[in-house]
C-alpha cells in the first residue's frame, strides 16, 4: 500500500576523523567500527562534543573520514548520499515557502515529479495538513519539526538521520514527537539514526543504543532494546527500561561525564 522503500544497511570500518588545526590536530573520532542492519532504529547517545554529529556527517557523505571506509548497502560513500533524509535540531524550514512547498523541496532538488499526494499524505499523518498553505512562522515549534520530518521522509529515503531533532522543544511536545517517531519507524521501513543527549529518548526510540565516549569519539557500549512496538510512553517507567537507562548512565559516570 505505502510503496515501501528498501531501507539500507550501514557499515563503518575503522573510521577515524582528525581535523587539522593551527593549535594541533583535533581527534574527533577514534578508530570506530560498527554495522547497522537495514531497517534498524539506532540511537547514538553521548556527551557534548563526542563526535556524534561528525559521525553523522561522515555517513551522509558531507565530510570525508580521515581514515577508514563507510558503506551504505554495498556502496562506498565518497560524496553526499542522496538517499537520505536528515532532520536537524533547528527545523530549517524555508521562511519564504509555505508548509507544502517546504515538504516538496527535496523532490524539486532531485527533479522528482508529482510527489504532492505523498507530501499531503505525510502532512495528514503528522496532523499538520490544515497548515499546508501556511507559512512556517505561523506554526508552533512542534508543528515545525513535524513538517521537517515530513520533508525528510518525502522521497522515501533508505536512511533517516535525526541530529538532536527534539532538543529545542518543551518536554511535553518532545514526548509527543517521540511517539510520532515510533510511528514513523514502523510505518516507513527506514533505517533510522537518532542522535540525542537524552538517555530516555535514546532508548524509547530505538532497537539499539550506541553509547559514545567523549573526544575522540568511540563506542563504549552497544545495547539491544528488546521492547515490542508500538511502544507507549508508560514503557519508560518499567523496570526493564530503567535498567537500560542505568547501564548507560553508569558509562557516563565512569567516564566522568556525569558526576554529582
Amino acid at each position: 500500500m505505502h510503496g515501501r522503500s528498501a531501507s539500507a544497511s550501514i557499515s563503518l570500518k575503522n573510521i577515524e576523523k582528525v581535523y587539522p588545526g593551527p593549535a594541533g590536530d583535533l581527534h574527533a573520532i577514534a578508530p570506530l567500527s560498527v554495522e547497522l542492519a537495514a531497517g534498524q532504529a539506532v540511537s547514538i547517545v553521548g556527551p557534548s562534543g563526542c563526535g556524534k554529529s561528525t559521525l553523522m556527517r561522515l555517513i551522509a557523505g558531507l565530510d570525508p573520514p580521515t581514515r577508514g571506509e563507510i558503506r551504505i548497502g554495498q556502496e562506498l560513500v565518497t560524496r553526499p548520499v542522496s538517499d537520505i533524509g536528515i532532520v536537524f535540531q533547528r527545523d530549517l524550514l524555508l521562511e519564504w515557502r509555505n508548509v507544502l512547498g517546504n515538504v516538496l523541496l527535496p523532490a524539486e532538488i532531485k527533479g522528482l515529479p508529482d510527489l504532492e499526494p505523498r507530501a499531503r499524505e505525510l502532512l495528514r499523518e503528522f496532523d499538520v495538513d490544515a497548515f499546508a498553505s501556511s507559512y512556517p512562522w505561523q506554526l508552533s515549534g512542534g508543528m515545525r519539526q513535524r513538517v521537517a520530518i515530513a520533508r525528510a521522509l518525502l522521497t522515501r529515503p533508505a536512511l533517516l538521520f535525526l541530529d538532536e531533532p527534539f532538543s529545542a522543544l518543551d518536554a511535553l511536545t518532545r514526548d509527543q514527537m517521540n511517539v510520532l517517531l515510533q510511528h514513523v519507524q514502523t510505518s516507513e521501513a527506514v533505517t533510522t539514526l537518532l542522535i540525542t543527549h537524552s538517555i530516555t529518548e535514546a532508548i524509547f526510540c530505538a532497537d539499539r543504543v550506541l553509547v559514545m565516549s567523549g573526544r575522540p569519539g568511540a563506542i563504549m557500549d552497544d545495547i539491544r532494546v528488546p521492547f515490542e512496538r508500538p511502544r507507549r510512553l508508560a514503557l519508560r517507567e518499567t523496570s526493564e527500561f530503567t535498567a537500560i537507562g542505568r547501564r548507560i548512565r553508569e558509562h557516563f559516570e565512569k567516564a566522568g561525564v556525569l558526576v554529582g
Binding site: 558531507l62 553526499p80 548520499v81 542522496s82 536528515i86 519564504w96 523541496l105 532538488i109 490544515a130 512562522w137
Partner: protein
C-alpha cells in the same frame, strides 16, 4: 475540521485570533490629517508673506502661481516627466541587472570580491556631478549619457544590498540542501536568492528613488529634453514659477514611485516579518 484547524491556529499563533483593537484606521486618518494641516499652514504663510512683501515673481512665486502654472502647462510638464522617467527606468533596469550580477559574482568568489569591491567603492565615492561632463564626452549628448548617469547613481545600493543579502543565507539550510544533492545553481536559486530577496528589495527601493534624481542631473548637462532640461531652461528664462512647478511635479512623482516600490516589495515578500503585522491584523491564517 475547520473548527479544529482554527483551534490549532490559535495555539500556533495566538495574536492571529486575539481581538486586539485595530489602530490602523485611526492612525491612517491622523497620518494624513496632520501633515495636510501643517502643509496648509506652511503654504498659507508662504502665500501671505510673498504677497505682503510684494516679492517679485522671478525670485519667489506664491504657491497659487505655481498651481496656476501646473494647470496651464500640465501637458508640457507631464511629457517632460515621461522623458525623464523613461531614461530613469532604462538606467535603473541596467543598474539592477548589473548590480545583481556583480553582487552574485562578489559573493561567489573571494577573488572577485577582492578585485572588484574596492573599485566599486571608489566609483561610488566619486561625486557624480563631477564626472557628468566625461559622460557627455563618452556617450554623447542625449539619452545614452542620461541612462549611464542613472546607472552611476543607482548601482551601488543594489550591489551592496545584494551582497549583504546573499551572505545572510543560513549556512545550515545550505548544508541541508547540499545533503539533498543540490547543485551550486540550485543552492543559489532555492536558498541564497530567496534569503537575499528582502535585502535586494531594500536596495532596489533605494535605487528607484535615486534613479529620477540621476536622470534629472543627467538632463542638466547632457540633454535638451526632460524635466531636468526644463528646469535649467526655466531658471535661465527667469520663469521661476515654471521651475517650481517642475520641482513640485517631480516631488509628487518621487513619492508615488516610493509607494509603488513598497507595493512591489509587499507583493514579492508576503512571508517577510515586516508583513506579519498586517497579516495578523487582517486576522489572517486560512
Amino acid at each position: 475540521m475547520t473548527t479544529a484547524a482554527t483551534e490549532q491556529m490559535a495555539e500556533a499563533a495566538p495574536p492571529a485570533n486575539a481581538k486586539t483593537p485595530v489602530p490602523r484606521s485611526g492612525s491612517l486618518f491622523a497620518g494624513v490629517l496632520w501633515p495636510l494641516l501643517s502643509g496648509a499652514i506652511g503654504l498659507a504663510l508662504w502665500e501671505g508673506l510673498v504677497r505682503l512683501f510684494k516679492v517679485p515673481l522671478f525670485i519667489l512665486p506664491p504657491p497659487s502661481q505655481v498651481v496656476i502654472t501646473i494647470v496651464d502647462q500640465w501637458w508640457y510638464l507631464l511629457s517632460q516627466l515621461a522623458i525623464t522617467t523613461f531614461a530613469a527606468g532604462l538606467g535603473l533596469i541596467m543598474a539592477v541587472v548589473f548590480g545583481l550580477a556583480a553582487g552574485a559574482a562578489i559573493t561567489a568568489s573571494r577573488l572577485v570580491d577582492r578585485m572588484l569591491t574596492p573599485w566599486l567603492v571608489i566609483a561610488h565615492a566619486v561625486p557624480k556631478v563631477v564626472i557628468a561632463p566625461l559622460f557627455l564626452v563618452w556617450f554623447g549628448f542625449g539619452l545614452q549619457s542620461e541612462m549611464f548617469f542613472v546607472v552611476a547613481f543607482t548601482f551601488f545600493p543594489v550591489i551592496v544590498n545584494t551582497v549583504t543579502g546573499l551572505k545572510s543565507a543560513d549556512p545550515e539550510q545550505i548544508l541541508m540542501v547540499r545533503a539533498m544533492g543540490a547543485t551550486p545553481g540550485q543552492v543559489l536559486r532555492k536558498i541564497q536568492f530567496p534569503s537575499a530577496l528582502p535585502s535586494i528589495c531594500a536596495g532596489i527601493k533605494l535605487a528607484v528613488t535615486l534613479a529620477p534624481v540621476g536622470a534629472v542631473i543627467g538632463e542638466f548637462v547632457a540633454s535638451n529634453k526632460g524635466l531636468g532640461h526644463l528646469l535649467i531652461r526655466a531658471v535661465g528664462d527667469m520663469d521661476t514659477s515654471l521651475a517650481f512647478a517642475a520641482v513640485t511635479v517631480f516631488s509628487i512623482f518621487g513619492v508615488l514611485l516610493w509607494r509603488l516600490a513598497e507595493w512591489g516589495e509587499r507583493r514579492v515578500l508576503p512571508w517577510h516579518p515586516s508583513q506579519r503585522e498586517a497579516f495578523l491584523l487582517r486576522g489572517g491564517g486560512n
